[in-house]
Each structure stands twice: as C-alpha cells, then as structure tokens.
C-alpha cells in the first residue's frame, strides 16, 4: 500500500504558474477583440464561407441572435436556421452532389446537433443531400409536407431519403398550414403551407415557413408557385406583411413570387438560391423586375456565394461569402 506524501512547492513554480495564466488570459482577450473566437468561447465559426466582418454585428454582446444561412449549393436549396433559443433547423439539403458539401460545412462549424430537418418538398434538388448529412448529424425529428397535399415522389433519390430516415429512426411529422414547429417566448416558426388538399405539381406542396423574432420576419418558401402563394395570401397575409427577409421561391422561376404576393411581403432583403449559368434560365427576367419593384436588396448565391442574415430582433445585418 502506498501513501501520498504532500511535498513543499517551490515559490518559483507558483510564480511561473501565475505568469502563465496571465499570458493565456491576455491572449484570449486579444483574440476576441481581433475577430477570433475567444479561447473559452463556443460560438460556431464560419471562416470558410463568411467574411471576417461577421464579428462586427450591430447587436450587443450576449444578445440572442437569429441567424439564417442560405448555403451556396449550386442549383438547389439548403438553409440552416439558428434560432435565438439555440435550436438549429436544417431546411432542405440541396441535391446529391451538395450533400457532402453541406455535411462538411456542418462538421467544420460544429453545427451537427440539429433540432429538426425540414424537407420542403420531395424534389431531388432539395432532398438529395440529406442521405449524406443524416449520417453525421444528431437529430431525431423531420418535417415533411403532409401526404394529403400529394407530396409523394417516385424517384430513387426520394426512396433513399425515406430509407435513411427510417434507418436513423427519425420521428417524421406530416406538416400542414397552421402548424407550429417552434413556439415559445423567444421565437416562433409557423407553417404557412401546404394545405391539406392535392396540388398540381410537387412545387406547390412545399412547406413554407415564417420565422418570427422580435420585429423581424423571415419567410422560407421552398419552391411554392402562384397557386400556393395565393392560398397563403388569403389565410396568412397579415402574418407576413412587411417581411424582413424573403428566401425567393423556386430559384427565381417566373412561376413563383407573383406580384400580389410580393406586394404584401415587400421584403427588406431577398435571397435567391441558384446555380451559376443554370440550364433553366433562373432567375427569370420577369421575376427580377418584380423583385426590383417590391424588394429592398437582392442577393444571389450564384454571384455572392453563401448568404447569411443575422438579427438581434431589433436590427439585422446581411453577410455574403464573396
């Protein structure tokens, strides 16, 4: 049996230890003041995609923030919503080629603890990437458009997505207009579409989300087209009047973002997610004219890369990767 005998510590050792702690604290403060993460900080970094100005956000230190990052996934959609209450929502995942890119971005930024995924509708340019992403993220909840809207695809990509969710044993919730994904004292995520009837075309089955935080409203539209937009206007027009940020529907197609919808929405900023020189001629010139008439600033992932909206509920800021 051994005994531990207390030894006398040299004053020099104590002096060196204090000096070391002093230098570590000075270095942490210096890094924080110069835009880097403090040694003890846990805030996610976006170094590869976002500009260094990120640290210069208008909000006060310690404020709860809403952050919506529309990732540059080429011709497709994927957005990470970081809610002010700390929950993360991954809305769409781009196509199969985008999957590894989004997966790596989430891993690099330690954003893998996801509250829920939202597959707005079952087109391959929105759900194709989920199979790769589901392998690394921690989540047990998925929202899909309700089947009464006719949102069933027959592609192998969709089947594989369903299999991946089954393998991960996710709780999959069918979603309809009027549902709430999050509703608490800090923020609200409300579902504005689809309604529980069959639509012509899968685009119109898209889940449309309204995120409310402070005086700001963010509208994530999937690929909704005019029939769905008109239903949303009729039922929820007052809810999203004066939107702060609009994620433009369907990559800037002419069949979406009709005049009446934009007139009510009248967003301060609009994000368009699309691929450079895409074969579908997105964004359509007629849509761009409508946006120029009703929107404040217009940002495009094909020109400015990944786009980020940050709000403290009172003021907002937009950052672009390029």
């Amino acid at each position: 049996m051994s005994r531990t005998v207390p030894r006398k510590v040299s004053p020099w050792v104590v002096y060196l230890a204090v000096l070391l702690v002093f230098f570590v604290v000075c270095y942490a403060v210096w890094r924080k003041e110069h835009g880097g993460e403090g040694l003890l900080g846990t805030a996610p970094q976006y170094a590869y995609a976002l500009p260094e100005e990120r640290s210069a956000f208008v909000g006060e230190e310690g404020d709860a923030l809403l952050r919506v990052t529309v990732l540059d996934v080429g011709q497709g959609d994927s957005a990470l919503v970081e809610l002010p209450d700390g929950k993360l929502m991954l809305v769409d995942a781009g196509d199969r080629d985008a999957g590894p890119k989004v997966r790596d971005w989430l891993l690099e930024n330690s954003l893998t603890n996801i509250y829920c995924i939202v597959a707005t509708h079952p087109h391959a340019d929105h759900i194709g990437g989920f199979v790769d992403i589901l392998k690394v993220i921690g989540t047990d909840l998925a929202y899909l458009p309700g089947r009464k809207s006719g949102a069933t695809a027959t592609t192998r990509v969709y089947k594989n997505f369903l299999k991946a969710m089954d393998k991960k044993n996710l709780t999959v919730r069918e979603t309809y207009a009027g549902d709430y994904i999050v509703s608490n004292a800090v923020c609200v995520v409300k579902v504005l579409a689809p309604e529980a009837h069959v639509y012509e075309g899968l685009n119109n089955t898209s889940i449309c989300l309204l995120v409310l935080f402070g005086k700001h409203k963010v509208l994530l539209t999937g690929d909704i087209e005019t029939p769905s937009e008109k239903e949303i206007l009729e039922r929820f027009g007052d809810d999203f009047r004066g939107t702060t940020l609009l994620k433009v529907a369907h990559h800037g197609s002419k069949t979406s973002s009709c005049e009446e919808f934009l007139r009510v929405c009248e967003p301060d900023a609009a994000f368009i997610s699309l691929g450079r020189d895409n074969e579908y001629h997105h964004p359509h010139p007629s849509l761009m004219k409508r946006l120029e008439r009703w929107c404040g600033e217009i940002y495009r992932t094909d020109q400015e890369g990944t786009l980020t909206f940050i709000s403290d509920g009172k003021q907002f800021e937009i950052q672009t990767a390029k």
């Binding site: 087109h123 695809a153 027959t154 192998r156 075309g201 197609s253 002419k254 579908y280 997105h282």
Partner: protein, 68 residues
Amino acid sequence: MRLIVDRIEEDVIVAEMPDMTFVNLPRAVAPKAKEGDQLVISVRRSDPKLREEIEALENKLFEKRADK
C-alpha cells in the same frame, strides 16, 4: 432504360436515371410527361420496310444526280 421524371423546369424535363444521376431533356421530347412519370427508352433495329423505302428514295435521287 426507364427514366423517372423528377421535375419540370421551364422547358426542361429533369429525369432520374437508374444510377440516381439526373439528365436534362428538352420538354419537346415528351410534352405530356408529368412528375413521377416514367420515360422508357428502348432500342429497336431499324424497320426493314422503312429502310427499303429510304434506299429506294436514295437510289432515285442518286440516279437523278447521275443524270445531271
């Protein structure tokens, strides 16, 4: 080969191939195709009757050229 129509973007049919890659086709190839439909591509040997007709036409035309 069976292609599954994933979606229709403007005048382009985006169809899924058996290996889960996607191909863009002009909508004019199958104007009535809708999402979820299958486009079946099969290969047939050329129709002998059609070949005979074409060859007869060629012979006629070539004779004409030879006459000139």
